[in-house]
């Protein structure tokens, strides 16, 4: 028997319910508002009074309204057909909703209930299976979507029967399993999982080591992220967080991309809705949307559901990882999620931590980032979730709780800098402040040497040193004046500018320049390194600037040209000639 209750108090979306039976923390309850069912979640229990946060507006709600508890926590529905869906933070299919405006209490099922999937069995009768075991496979947008024994079935079962290859809908029983006591359970293609629980049906979680190519040079070349890695992008507004995040989600070499638009602008989601169905995945040649799932809880949608949205997205990611796929999860922005926690903690009158955020913020953030990672599944296959979150620091000040707590757990840090953005040096990732811890992993270095070349890491570090040196000199020039430093200083400075303009700066709106495959990144870094290693001689600093500006101009034209096209080769020749003219070796 499910517990029932009656509304006793209402303060915005916090509702106090008097209950007649047992309830669990985080249990889901529906409040009946004159026939409209409002979904809510238990967040505090005091005696017979249960505090629930409502995922919708409570306008018009009255005391004495009836409440039905559901006996389970907030769950996601998992099954084939999630790809290409536009979901809200509670996994409702937004496309199935009627009308221009969102209606309260309208909940839609995220999967296609009629579609027939071509099912191929993997396991056979007699096999021992447990939660997460692969029973069979369907083709979901060219991805081998594994139908797994539901993760909640943690015991060992014997597979009693499994259907033959054929076309079935998600409700069709595809297998029957039997537990130790001989009790049978029918399995179809749908399962459910409570979003706040990490899905850990894997054998081990080794350190990640394999480059996840994003096509963004200042990430891949300078501070690479890896399959199963974690990264975060803090940046004040206007520094290009969103453009960068969209670029990564368009270009990254992942099987599945999940975008959690968490408390951000609706038009940014519209941009994804509009563009992704048209754009081509550079790695497979298919439509980008085919590998993408959008979880949209924009800033004007209910705040409580905003908190749920990141967990919904992560749980879906874990589901696909369990199939041995490479998942990229992007959350924009984790600060909005933290603010949702703050609003509720405030309404619960909890004692606040720094900046009025709840005291357990750091634990919440680190647990969440901890769910990402590269795993070896029980059957030996590998899967990964790479997680990149953006952070919107208040006032652009990185000394605030969300940024600081994220910095403790994320292994890549892409600092977007106002000054670079002001100068239109995009992407505005500060090359000196930013880091990737993965570069230091011996596993990574070994892998990247195999993939690109033995001297790759050396060249990357050399470029970084030059950028740092260039920055120091530019500060000196600002103090001492152009005349106040030797001409060699100008040469060193301009070499760093060359790296900045040709390697780091990238036009996200140019078809060719926006995405640079690793082969081309190698070409660029090799070329720039060669120029930087060349000794030059000039009479005065003016000539240094003029000369390097010309080099930079050619290098940029190269970046705009198709790789190894005639035009590209032509510019390359021009550049080499120009270098040999002034070289003194």
């Amino acid at each position: 028997m499910l517990t029932k209750g009656i509304v006793r108090g209402i303060i915005s979306n916090l509702v106090i319910v008097e209950v007649d039976g047992p309830v669990a923390q985080n249990e889901i309850a529906y409040i009946n508002l004159e026939g409209v069912r409002l979904m809510s979640e238990v967040i505090k229990v005091v005696g017979k009074n249960v505090y629930v946060q409502v995922f919708e507006s409570t306008r018009g709600l009255k005391v004495d309204a009836e409440v039905e508890f559901q006996g389970h926590m907030l769950e996601v529905v998992l099954g084939p057909g999630l790809l290409e869906r536009n979901l809200d933070g509670l996994e409702n299919d937004l496309d199935k909703m009627e009308g221009v405006f969102l209606k309260r209490g309208e909940y839609t099922f995220p999967l296609d209930e009629e579609k027939l999937w071509r099912f191929k069995p993997i396991a056979g009768p007699g096999d021992t299976v447990t939660g997460g075991s692969w029973l069979g496979e369907v083709d979901e947008n060219f991805q081998p979507h594994k139908i797994m024994l539901p993760f909640v079935m943690k015991e060992e079962y014997r597979l009693k029967s499994i259907v033959e290859e054929g076309a079935y809908n998600i409700y069709k029983t595809i297998a029957v399993v039997e537990d130790q006591n001989g009790k049978e359970t029918e399995i179809n293609m749908i399962q459910r999982w409570p979003v706040k629980m990490p899905l850990t049906t894997y054998k081990e979680k080794p350190r990640p080591y394999k480059l996840l190519e994003t096509g963004v040079r200042s990430i891949d070349t300078l501070n690479p992220i890896v399959e199963g890695g974690t990264g975060f992008i803090p940046g004040a507004f206007g520094t290009g967080k969103t453009v960068l995040q969209h670029a990564i989600s368009k270009q990254a070499e992942a099987d599945i991309v999940i975008i959690a638009a968490c408390g951000e602008r609706a038009n940014e989601v519209v941009e994804i809705f509009t563009e992704f169905p048209e754009l081509i995945d550079p790695h497979t040649g298919r439509k980008l949307m085919e590998r993408t799932i959008i979880v949209a809880n924009t800033s004007n949608m209910p705040v409580a559901a905003r908190e749920a949205s990141v967990y919904t997205a992560m749980s879906i990611g874990e589901y696909y990882r369990s199939m041995g796929l490479k998942v990229l999860l992007m959350a924009d922005s984790t600060s909005r999620w933290a603010q949702a926690l703050r609003e509720m903690s405030n309404r619960l009158e909890e004692l606040p931590g720094p900046d009025a955020f709840p005291m357990d913020l750091s634990a919440i953030i680190s647990n969440f980032y901890g769910r990402a990672g590269h795993v070896i599944l029980n059957n030996g296959e590998e899967g990964s979730i790479t997680f990149i979150g953006t952070v919107s620091p208040a006032g652009g000040n990185l000394k605030e709780p969300v940024t600081e707590n994220t910095k403790k757990v994320a292994r890549c840090f892409y600092a977007l800098e106002q000054d670079r953005a002001d100068k239109k040096r995009y992407p505005a990732i500060n090359p000196i402040e930013s880091y990737s811890k993965y570069i230091e992993y011996p596993e990574f270095e070994e892998e990247i040497s195999k993939q690109i070349s033995d001297d790759w890491t050396e060249k990357v570090n050399e470029a970084k040193t030059r950028l740092l040196r260039g920055k120091e000199i530019s500060e000196q020039i600002n103090i001492l004046g152009d005349d106040g430093v030797p001409v060699e200083y100008h040469i060193t400075y301009w070499k760093s500018e060359l790296i900045d303009f040709i390697v780091l700066q990238q036009d996200a709106f140019d078809e060719i320049d926006s995405v640079t495959p690793m082969e081309r990144q190698k070409h660029i870094l090799d070329m720039v390194t060669e120029v930087c290693r060349t000794e030059f001689e000039f009479d005065n600093f003016n000539k240094v600037a003029d000369y390097f500006k010309e080099l930079i101009n050619i290098g940029r034209q190269m970046n705009y040209a198709e790789f190894k096209s005639e035009k590209f080769n032509d510019y390359y020749r021009q550049l080499q000639e120009l270098v040999s003219q002034k070289s003194i070796n």
Binding site: V63, G99, F101, L102, T298, E343, A356, F509, Q557
Partner: protein, 437 residues
Amino acid sequence: MAKAFQKIYTKITQITKATCSVKATNIGYDELATVNGRLAQVVKIIGDEVTMQIFQGTEGIPTNAEVIFMGKSPSLKVGEQLAGRFFNAYGDPIDGGPVPEGEERPIGGPSVNPVRRKQPSELIATGIAGIDLNNTLVSGQKIPFFADPDQPFNQVMATVALRAKADKIILGGMGMTNDDYLFFKNVFSNAGALDRIISFMNTTEDPAVERLLVPDMALTAAEYFAVEKNEKVLVLLTDMSSYADALSIVSNRMDQIPSKDSMPGSLYSDLAKIYEKAAQFPTGGSITIVAVTTLSGGDITHAVPDNTGYITEGQLFLRRDSDVGKVIVDPFRSLSRLKQLVQGTKTREDHPQVMNAAVRLYADAANAKTKQENGFDLTDYDLRTLSFARDYAEYILAIDVNLDTVEMLDKTWKFLSDHFKPSEVNMKKELVDKYWQ
């Protein structure tokens, strides 16, 4: 003004500066009430104790005040009759005209389903190069002016509104001085645009908390015209900092824990709910919001501009260019996030690159100026950037210049050609070959 059979409650249990509580049953959350004739709204219900926020404040409210619940949340009667009218924050006429007839709609209604939105793609021409050339506005966008109180933002906003070719202009005034209110009224009436204007006004003379209703009133009217009539609606909200001040007053009186700058922890969501009403609808109508956020001493790290910046699609800064003595839209700090949806597609192909090159060179000029001020010698290049910057500011950026986009581009090419070599502008060669003068 109690109607027959309406229940009157008189058992007031608590009075604070902004709220009073009464014993009552069967009351809906957010419902409106009158307390001795003053408008109030339900903000908290615990058992049979209902707490209301009284918009005009609780001064003089006695413990035996008459409380009448109205059975509905704040609402506005929408219809064609709204056009050309001036209202207060409650939606009551202040222009002496009749109460408009129409369908009554609760204000602050639901959000647009994001999948039903269309991508904004229609350029809004203002003739001001700092906007059209560098930070192009698009219908369905939301963008504020970040301005110090002494800057002429209301004038620029009025210019933008009149040139924008909107079907309706809805002005939401919050804490506006009476002088500014009259300024808008005059400008619109001189331009013969009064029949396109709808105004909801809370001036500095009105109670501060009332202004919390203004944006929702304005946007409810806007949604009517944009969704039902497929019109292009431009909503002007000035000044959103005053709105935020009212939020902080309320949250303080309700004993909420303040977060940064004494603002409520929900500031981001509160502002987002307003700004996100800007949308391009599938049937052709649109709501564009141009707002004003006044800054204190240019500080954009304050919670109000900071949260606003994360919500809106860019921001516009005004500044006086001291070399030419004119007000310009600051090309460095201003940003329109939707500009790439129209630049180079709805405008000429060279638009994005010309814009970037000019701004970059203008930045070089600013560096040269710093060098000059610090007493260093200027190079030939520095001197050329400085003369370019003067031309660029005076003949293109100044807000009193009125050009169409093609003229802006051609003029910029001319100044680039006058002062630089093609290799110095860092543009695609194809464009340089085609447009260099």
